[in-house]
């Protein structure tokens, strides 16, 4: 069993408790200055795809590593710092340029993404002791659930963007919550408490 599978197994009670359809998805940004991380052990997407689409597909077990050449959405390129602005000064939340994004494994992830419906998000909020939903319907899974959570170190919920629903394959009922990995053990403890008191 790989370390990624061990982490996934560890947090499976959270997924079961929430009744999630999708698996938990980890996302890890590999900075350009990190020349030691070997990304060749991960599969590349078969075609250019939206980042949010790759996240949803990772929720069904399709883990990939994506570079700039693999991303079809200019918003995600910028949000994840895979590309720097060329025409207008809109700085990325992620300061260091990114070489690649590993999408899927929980182990060593920078953010854990929950693809859940509003009722499941309500239960997750109870486990977290509160959950902010700072979103504006644009740059959603890439920005609001990934980059923002990595930078601010706080969970955030996004109601997604049109791109996620048109190209990413998300349903009207789907939302995505990004959670900093250091909070996962606390969520697990809360789930155990709930189950023990039931």
């Amino acid at each position: 069993m790989s370390t990624s599978d061990k982490a996934r197994e560890k947090y499976e009670p959270i997924r079961t408790y929430l009744g999630m359809e999708y698996q938990l998805v980890g996302a890890k940004l590999i900075p350009e200055k990190d020349e030691t991380t070997d990304i060749s052990k991960y599969e590349r997407p078969t075609a250019r795809k939206y980042y949010c689409q790759m996240v949803r597909e990772a929720g069904t077990g399709q883990h990939v590593v994506a570079t700039l050449e693999d991303i079809a959405c200019p918003n995600a390129e910028l949000a994840l710092s895979l590309r720097q602005p060329k025409y207008v000064n809109i700085p990325s939340m992620i300061k260091d340029p990114t070489r690649a994004v590993i999408i899927g494994p929980i182990e060593d992830a920078d953010v854990v993404l929950f693809i859940i419906n509003p009722k499941q998000a309500m239960h997750l909020a109870l486990l977290l002791g509160g959950l902010s939903a700072e979103f504006k319907g644009d740059v959603a899974v890439c920005g609001e659930a990934t980059a923002q959570v990595i930078v601010e170190g706080m969970p955030n919920m996004t109601m997604l963007c049109n791109g996620a629903r048109m190209y990413g394959g998300y349903s009207d009922c789907d939302t995505v919550v990004g959670v900093p990995p250091f909070m996962m053990d606390k969520i697990l403890e809360k789930v155990a408490e709930k189950q023990n008191s039931a």
């Binding site: 060329k86 025409y87 207008v88 809109i90 963007c161 791109g163």
Partner: protein, 81 residues
């Protein structure tokens, strides 16, 4: 090259639109002109001024310029491949 020196074949105003409609409307607009023709796109959202050109480049078109054309407005000039 200034806009005054360019013969613009088509202009679209997509102020108020966000991704992906900015991309979709720009792509549909450029489909309607001949190769080598010029499309101008008016946007009023900074990410659109960055990302519409990028999406056009991804389609192989040439970005002639991205110029401020008002407070929080930009005109993107694209040459069709």
């Amino acid at each position: 090259m200034s806009d005054n020196e360019i013969k613009v074949d088509k202009k679209i105003d997509i102020r108020g639109e966000v991704c992906p409609y900015t991309f979709i409307k720009s792509k549909l607009a450029i489909e309607g002109i001949e190769s080598g023709g010029i499309l101008q796109v008016l946007v009023n959202y900074a990410p659109s001024a960055e990302n519409v050109p990028r999406s056009m480049e991804m389609e192989g078109h040439e970005i002639i310029s991205v110029e401020p054309s008002g407070e929080k407005e930009w005109t993107i000039t694209v040459k069709k491949k």
